[in-house]
Symmetry: C2
Subunit: 323 residues, 2 copies
């Protein structure tokens, strides 16, 4: 019988955090790509565009004028998917037709006054200001809402409608679907094994090493064993941290997103998910389509191969290297 | 207090088939779109391209030459994500690192010898041949595998790498994730309410009418109450049908995908999901990105509004209308 090798033999893996399976078929990387090729990245974003509603001094869709901000800048999304007051749909008349109230707040946070930078091109103190702003918006909205989701849609390919460096913050009166799954899994793991799922997971990855990308005094970056996107990574603090505002000043000099509030949440561990869409290069992406949408996520290289490739990348940002 | 109106007031809806929630915020359709615009559809696909590996008489990546087929044509995918034999990963050494064996078969099915047609541009007898081919491949692979997933990735935007009209068939030794969810939900519903979930759902939609798109003697097309994609639809047979091969000749003259095999599956109802990515027009799509990937699916117009717009579309295919 042939010996199993993950990089050669298809198999399925379990995601214990979100209770999902992924099909891993690394041998499939050999197929040629004749499909859609993404346009190369726009190199020439102007540093300042007075017509870009995210720039300092620009006028937004609702007529408000942005201040000439010189650090981060937080404001209410002009087209929020969640608003603070919306009437309750009322009781459902049938188990197959269930609707519930949804209330919340959507904010936009600019990271920097310049449009031609991204987080990795900013200085550590500038990034630190972003982390501090994430912690304080989490604290502010977390006092009123059970879930504060911070996310950055990056690149036109991922539906980002504005090149200016920014993220969004959507706080909701309900625990969103994926948070609910992570809640169930983490709660069950803690009650069965007596420690937080992601603390034990981080320990194990430090021992096994093959999926680690970066480690620092306070943080781990790894390609999770159950990763779905080719170069998906997970950022974890080394110690048990439930929410962003708990991060120490030293930890914030290189940190992430996510929050929660309520009774006993000891089973939760702060973490950030990165889901880059690229597969082979900057212009060939992984499509999560037919099989993935109807049946199950599928990936073409193993998480271990992805981690290996990420580890060998140069430390210098590609845009600085070109200079 | 304001009266709740789904088309004005955000709310969350439950998907009882896949056990998921979606955030519906129809008021958000008002926002302007400044993001990525998709290239207009390529109008000039040649009817026959000898270098296209899906065309009759063409040579494929593995050196095999296609026959000069004049109906449907089924062959093994040259770069299959699932192969019939792959060794077992063996027992897991830790609950957070679980892998299992995956075996299967991936096939490609061309619908027609011409590259410049799509299913809706084919004649009823030609489409009927496709449905018959789906039923027989389901029968053949369903005898060996618990799940046979038939899917069509359509358009470059959805990762389709070849314009020739075709679908894929992936049969697997495991019940994929989404099938597992549908299995759990349908089984639970049947045991609680004594009838298949999707049979009762179809009945209810026939009574409620607002989400119906098309009805015929044998089929219903509707925008599900819990739809995630803007113009997502669900195709359901009117009578209880578990698998494609059970369809009668009359039902096949306008039918879909999906199969299953085993002990008692009375709770299952054959159905097809359609997930078109478009939001406002042929060039502006809905992105399922940051919030959707990290928190919960979100949609911008209600399923009822989508159904209304689909119902008012002309009966004539847009490409025939242009002539
Ligand atoms: O049609 P292809 O090229 O085999 O592959 C396409 O569909 C597959 C199944 O949905 C996806 O996993 C691929 O990412 C996509 O490019
Ligand atoms: O950034 P925008 O334009 O508000 O919106 C973008 O992110 C949202 C949250 O992930 C998605 O629902 C939209 O489809 C996407 O275009």
């Amino acid at each position: 019988a042939t010996t199993f090798r993950a990089s050669e033999h298809q198999h399925i893996r379990y995601n214990p955090l979100q209770d999902e399976w992924v099909l891993v078929s690394a041998h499939r990387m050999k197929r040629p790509w004749q499909g859609q090729v993404e346009p190369p990245l726009l190199k020439t974003v102007a540093r300042h565009d007075p017509h870009n509603p995210l720039c300092p001094g620009a006028t937004r869709a609702n007529g408000e004028v942005n201040p000439f901000y010189d650090g981060t800048f937080l404001f209410d999304n002009d087209f929020p998917a969640l608003q603070p007051d919306a009437p309750n749909p009322g009781p459902s008349d049938h188990p197959l037709f269930q609707a519930e109230a949804a209330r919340g707040v959507c904010k936009v946070m600019c990271f920097h006054p310049w449009s031609d930078v991204t987080l990795p091109l900013m200085s550590v103190p500038e990034i630190r200001a972003v982390v501090d702003a994430w912690a304080s918006v989490t604290e502010e909205l977390g006092a009123r809402y059970p879930w504060v989701q911070i996310f950055e849609n990056k690149g036109a390919m991922m539906g980002c409608s504005n090149p200016h460096p920014h993220c969004q913050v959507w706080a909701s009166s309900f625990l969103p679907d994926i948070a609910q799954r992570e809640e169930r899994s983490q709660r069950a793991y803690q009650s069965q094994h007596g420690e937080p799922l992601l603390m034990e997971y981080g320990h194990q990855e430090l021992l096994r090493k093959e999926r680690l990308v970066l480690t620092s005094e306070h943080w781990l970056v790894l390609v999770p064993f159950w990763a779905v996107w080719p170069f998906q990574t997970l950022l974890l603090p080394r110690r048990h941290v439930q929410r962003l505002p708990e991060l120490t000043p030293a930890e914030r000099d290189g940190a992430p997103t996510g929050s929660e509030a309520g009774a006993n949440w000891d089973h939760w561990q702060l973490h950030a998910h990165y889901y880059p869409p690229l597969l082979r290069s900057a212009t060939v992406r992984k499509f999560m389509v037919g099989y993935e949408m109807l049946a199950q996520a599928q990936r073409d290289l193993t998480p271990e191969q992805a981690a290996e490739r990420l580890r060998t990348l140069p430390e210098v940002h590609y845009r600085l290297g070109q200079k």
